[in-house]
């Protein structure tokens, strides 16, 4: 039954104007970057900085928006012989997949045209798309949870944006301040653990470990490499990102099962 729900919400979403705006944005971004610097590696690094901030933002906005705007569809489905979790999982997959497809197609097309397959950076590029996909699935799940817990649309939207702001900006701020404040203590473990709790940092580390440019790794990334080595480090960041998807999704089914419609 999930597949039926997925089918209808996906077709609803890809008919929506916003999916195209998002796709076109990435197309323009990809072409512009490649036009400006024909060096694929450099383009990937610039893209990384955009993708790790933008995919969470778009995932967050689409997640809440779709939840509130598709209330009619949800209520209709709730009266049908479908398990509740299938309704919400189906819609969740619909949003996440359509956003991921926009990302992959939008960046993939320019890179293909500029000869990605002849270049050595194809794996780096795939890692970038994988991180973007992870962040999309994570932030859509988080924002759908927020929407499920807030009947009030305005509040739900506000909390969701705050959540994005927290992971994208505030978290690193608090982190830096605590590094300065607790300068005298050994902070390696603290730093490692702290980075696991922020999916944005985590995906940045995952990409940079793959790129293997030590100058860009930053403090956290360098620690990751020192502590776990490149392979284990990548593996750990991948696994933790997976947990970041699984936990919010299972919370989503729990919250939806308790809700009155």
């Amino acid at each position: 039954m999930i597949s039926k729900v997925l089918k209808y919400s996906f077709s609803d979403l890809i008919r929506s104007r916003w999916s195209y705006v998002y796709l076109v944005f990435y197309l323009v971004l990809g072409f512009t970057l490649l036009f400006l610097n024909t060096n694929l590696s450099k383009a990937i690094i610039t893209l990384m900085n955009i993708v790790v901030i933008l995919t969470p933002l778009i995932g967050t906005i689409f997640g809440v928006m779709y939840y509130y705007n598709s209330r009619e569809f949800t209520e209709l489905l709730l009266a049908q012989p479908i398990k509740r979790s299938s309704i919400f999982l189906g819609q969740y997959l619909g949003i996440s997949l359509s956003l991921t497809i926009s990302l992959v197609a939008g960046l993939g097309i320019p890179f293909l045209i500029y000869g990605l397959f002849q270049s050595s950076v194809i794996l780096d590029f795939i890692m970038l798309l994988l991180s973007g996909a992870f962040l999309t699935f994570i932030f859509v799940a988080l924002s759908v949870n927020i929407a499920l817990l807030n009947t009030n649309k305005i509040k739900g939207f506000g909390y969701a944006i705050l959540m994005w702001l927290f992971f994208a900006v505030i978290y690193d701020g608090i982190f830096l301040i605590s590094l300065v404040l607790f300068d005298d203590y050994p902070l390696d473990q603290f730093t490692l653990v702290a980075s696991l709790f922020n999916p944005i940092d985590l995906s940045r580390i995952m990409i940079l470990l793959k790129l293997d440019i030590s100058a860009l790794l930053g403090y956290t990334g360098a620690l990751f490499q020192k502590f776990f080595g490149t392979y284990l480090g990548s593996f750990i960041s991948f696994g933790t990102l997976l947990l970041w998807v699984i936990i919010p999704v299972s919370l989503m089914t729990r919250f939806s099962n308790k809700k009155d419609f």
Partner: protein
């Protein structure tokens, strides 16, 4: 087919809507759930469907506990009080979507004809008038042959001719031995159709029985005055 409701309580925040409701529907027939606005009629219907989760109590259909589950909705046609549909679909698309999801034989053609809906089939739902939307709601509810029908204010917004058609339809379904639960504020509909009344008041069942029994109990001449007497 037997529906039995036992000890259902429901609170929304600190508002107690149902304080331990019990009733059995152990035969086919039309059961009218009555009560003032906000007395919990829609709430109890949604609890039977599993859309609202009660704090305690059970809904059983043929001896099986069904609240918290979903399979029993295969056998229920539900007409919601407020018909809300995905606005960007046409009537036809909506009907085929529900058929696709339910995967059961549907007889929508007869209903489309009965309610004169042919001209609207290719229109977007967002462009339909309130009464026309209600007809779509009726078609979606009645097009499957469900042994249980739950109708929450089915007459809302209908013109007199459609109202007559709806009455015929409900009567017809009753004759097939179905259990039909209906809420309405139109008492003449209750008088002409209902086999039994379930009257909700302040979270309890104030009365359960036939129209005659209710008028006898209150000592009034008709249903309207009986209900006015109860609510005074």
């Amino acid at each position: 087919m037997v529906i039995s409701i036992s000890n259902i309580t429901k609170k929304f925040g600190n508002l107690t809507v149902l304080k331990g409701i019990n009733f059995d529907l152990d035969r086919g027939g039309i059961f009218a759930v009555l009560g003032p606005n906000g007395s919990g009629k829609t709430t109890i219907l949604k609890i039977i469907l599993g859309m609202v989760i009660p704090q305690s109590g059970e809904v059983m259909i043929d001896g099986k506990v069904v609240n918290k589950s979903w399979g029993h909705r295969k056998g229920i046609g539900y007409l919601p009080q407020i018909a809300r549909f995905p606005d960007n679909l046409t009537v036809n698309e909506l009907i085929s979507m529900i058929k696709d999801i339910r995967q059961m034989p549907a007889e929508e053609k007869v209903l489309i004809e009965k309610f004169g809906m042919e001209p609207f089939l290719n229109q977007k739902l967002s462009n339909l008038s309130g009464g026309t939307r209600q007809k779509v709601n009726i078609i979606l509810t009645f097009m499957f042959d469900s042994p249980i029908l739950i109708l929450d204010e089915p007459t809302a917004g209908l013109d007199p001719l459609s109202l007559v058609r709806l009455k015929e339809l409900i009567q017809q379904e009753k004759e097939k031995g179905k259990i039909i639960l209906i809420t309405t504020h139109i008492l003449n509909l209750v008088e002409s159709l209902a086999d039994e009344i379930i009257f909700l008041l302040e979270g309890d069942i104030y009365f359960k029985g036939s129209v005659q029994e209710l008028t006898k109990k209150t000592g009034m001449n008709d249903l309207e005055h009986s209900i006015a007497r109860i609510l005074e």
